[in-house]
């Protein structure tokens, strides 16, 4: 572990504008860092070297010509492999789409580009975003930069590892049940899932449509805020996009203080199954927030224990429907089967989906099937309401809720891969907010070591009521400003400077 003062996206952009660096230099730095570290980490599925260099050169010309520079001008960004960018392979970590080149560009990717960002590559992920460790990627796992024998979390595994290893200052992930926040926590970076509907899903390959939300991973809260300002705002191409303008940051008179803010701490998030190191770091973080002026209020979210089954019924039901389109007709792989149309469908899906995807399609198909629909899917939707009400009641008493992002630090690769229920429980602190559609952020709040082991990052989760994205960011910014956890980097972190 080292203390590294690598610049965040905000600082990189500023240095380009002052002429300290050129876009070309910044991109070359990122590409060199990827070259140096990615053989070991496998964060990237593809690196767009030439396209990134060409774009950097064009941006430098525009800067020299005095054109306006957008809020992400010259910033190298990685995108997750379920995000469409015209002409780029968008594999979703699956054999099914191994050669699929997106024919169009997602709204949120276009907004990144319009803001001046440079997409340098596509990151590894659990297949179709189903997983918490990267081990479900058809292209092999990503390794955690803090300890390469451990999982980086998932499913935005490569995005988190790429930011943690200083290959890029900024990456996009998608969060259905914690897939931005959990890998952010396990890799020691910042990750934000905004309120559902804040960022358009147009061009995000769907997993669970009522849950999926794009979110940034970065090394500072101000970068998250900057990206949210770029990506949020209504998109007529997504019928679930909130008809609201981009998120405006809160600008309090004393940003370093949180006086009077009521901080809810749910008992259910600090249960016996937390790692001791996670508990210590999170308790210290809560004390720090109290010192910053928060009033701690112990609260209950009583239906939390039902969040995992509820989530896995709802998400798999939606997935079984969304993934029905992968049938060997329109895109991707095709199997032959017995020569019939039905045989082709089945042969294609059998050959090209991995085990976890099949498991979830089976579960989702079962809970939607005749005779079981009301008892399983219908009931889960009602329990989802109870989980949502838990938060609504809590937010009558408090302004934000804080707790750990993950019950453990990064776990060894291989440890949970044959035990799906153990893997699902990795998400138990992130799925409740997903089901309720709330904004939630994970940021580094310390390091914890197993006995004799290397120190591993711990994530603090900050949750707000619906649409209070800016409040969540303000709380995280005040915490970040009073601590140095975010400055810790794994040994060997590259430098995209």
């Amino acid at each position: 572990m080292s203390v590294a003062a690598a610049p965040d996206a905000t600082a990189l952009r500023a240095s380009i504008l002052t002429g300290e660096r050129s876009c070309a230099q910044v991109v070359d730095g990122a590409l060199a860092a990827i070259e140096a570290r990615d053989g070991e980490l496998s964060a990237f599925l593809s690196v767009e070297r030439e396209a990134a260099r060409e774009r950097a050169a064009r941006l430098d010309e525009r800067h020299a010509a005095g054109e306006t520079c957008g809020p992400l001008f010259g910033v190298p960004v990685a995108i997750k492999a379920n995000m469409c960018m015209e002409g780029v392979v968008t594999s979703c970590g699956s054999r099914m789409l191994a050669n699929y080149r997106a024919p169009y560009t997602a709204t949120f990717v276009q907004r990144l580009l319009d803001a001046g960002a440079i997409v340098v590559g596509v990151t590894n992920m659990d297949e179709f975003a189903m997983g918490s460790s990267s081990e479900n990627s058809a292209f092999g796992p990503t390794h955690n930069p803090w300890d390469v024998a451990r999982a980086p979390g998932g499913s935005s595994s490569g995005s988190a590892a790429a930011v943690a290893a200083h290959m890029v200052p900024l990456a996009l992930g998608s969060d259905t049940g914690g897939s931005v926040r959990q890998p952010a926590a396990l890799c020691g970076v910042h990750g934000f899932k905004p309120t559902y509907g804040r960022i358009s899903r147009y061009g995000l390959i769907a997993f669970g449509s009522s849950l999926d939300q794009v979110g940034p991973l970065a090394r500072s809260v101000r970068d998250l805020e900057r990206v949210l300002g770029v990506l949020s705002g209504h998109d007529p191409l997504d019928s679930t996009s909130l008809p609201l303008p981009p998120v405006e940051p809160e600008r309090p008179e004393h940003p370093e203080r949180l006086d009077g803010l009521r901080l809810g701490v749910p008992a259910e998030y600090l249960g016996d199954d937390l790692d001791d190191g996670v508990r210590r770091s999170v308790e210290a973080a809560l004390e720090c927030l109290v010192e910053l002026g928060c009033e701690r209020v112990d609260i209950d979210l009583p239906h939390t224990l039902h969040a995992i089954p509820t989530y896995y019924v709802v998400a798999t039901a939606e997935a079984s429907s969304n993934l029905a389109r992968f049938d060997g007709v329109g895109f991707g792989a095709r199997g032959e089967g017995d020569g019939s149309l039905q045989g082709m469908f089945s042969a294609t899906r059998d050959a090209a989906f991995g085990d976890e995807v099949k498991r979830r399609i089976l579960l989702g198909t079962f809970v939607l099937s005749e005779g079981y629909h009301d008892a399983w899917y219908g009931r889960a939707l009602r329990v989802r309401t109870l989980l949502r009400r838990d938060f609504e009641h809590a937010f009558e008493e408090v302004d934000v809720i804080c707790g750990p992002t993950s019950p453990t630090t990064a776990f060894p690769l291989g440890e949970r891969v044959d035990d799906p229920l153990a893997m699902y429980r990795s998400d138990r602190l992130t799925v409740p907010t997903s089901l309720a559609g709330l904004p939630a952020l994970s940021l580094p709040c310390g390091l914890a070591a197993d006995e004799g082991g290397a120190p591993l990052p711990v994530g603090l989760q900050v949750i707000g009521p619906a649409l209070a994205d800016a409040r969540v960011l303000r709380v995280a910014a005040a915490f970040e400003a009073s601590t140095d956890h975010h400055e810790r980097s794994p040994e060997g972190a590259g430098s995209e400077r």
Binding site: R101, P309, V313, V329, R349, T385
Partner: protein, 99 residues
Amino acid sequence: MADTDRDLVLQTAALARLQLDEREAQHLGPQFEAILRQFRQLEGVDVGDAEPTTGATGVRDVLRADEVRPSLEPGVVLANAPHRVGDFYAVPKTVGGPD
């Protein structure tokens, strides 16, 4: 795995257009059963008068104006098709007798 469990898994796989081979049925079947067993805890939750939540925000079916817009060229859309004939997707014959 009991025969009834195995039947349920295979029946569900058929509905999902998944053609599980013997190894997969052996591997996925017991896991499927274990997951369902654990998730049966939802049966014990008192849901009272709770209406189902189908979307996180309450915003639903916001339709844009029905205006003609440019769309992708057929060649672009079909570029990823595993098998095409001209501007059409080609699939095994579904009606009539053999060719």
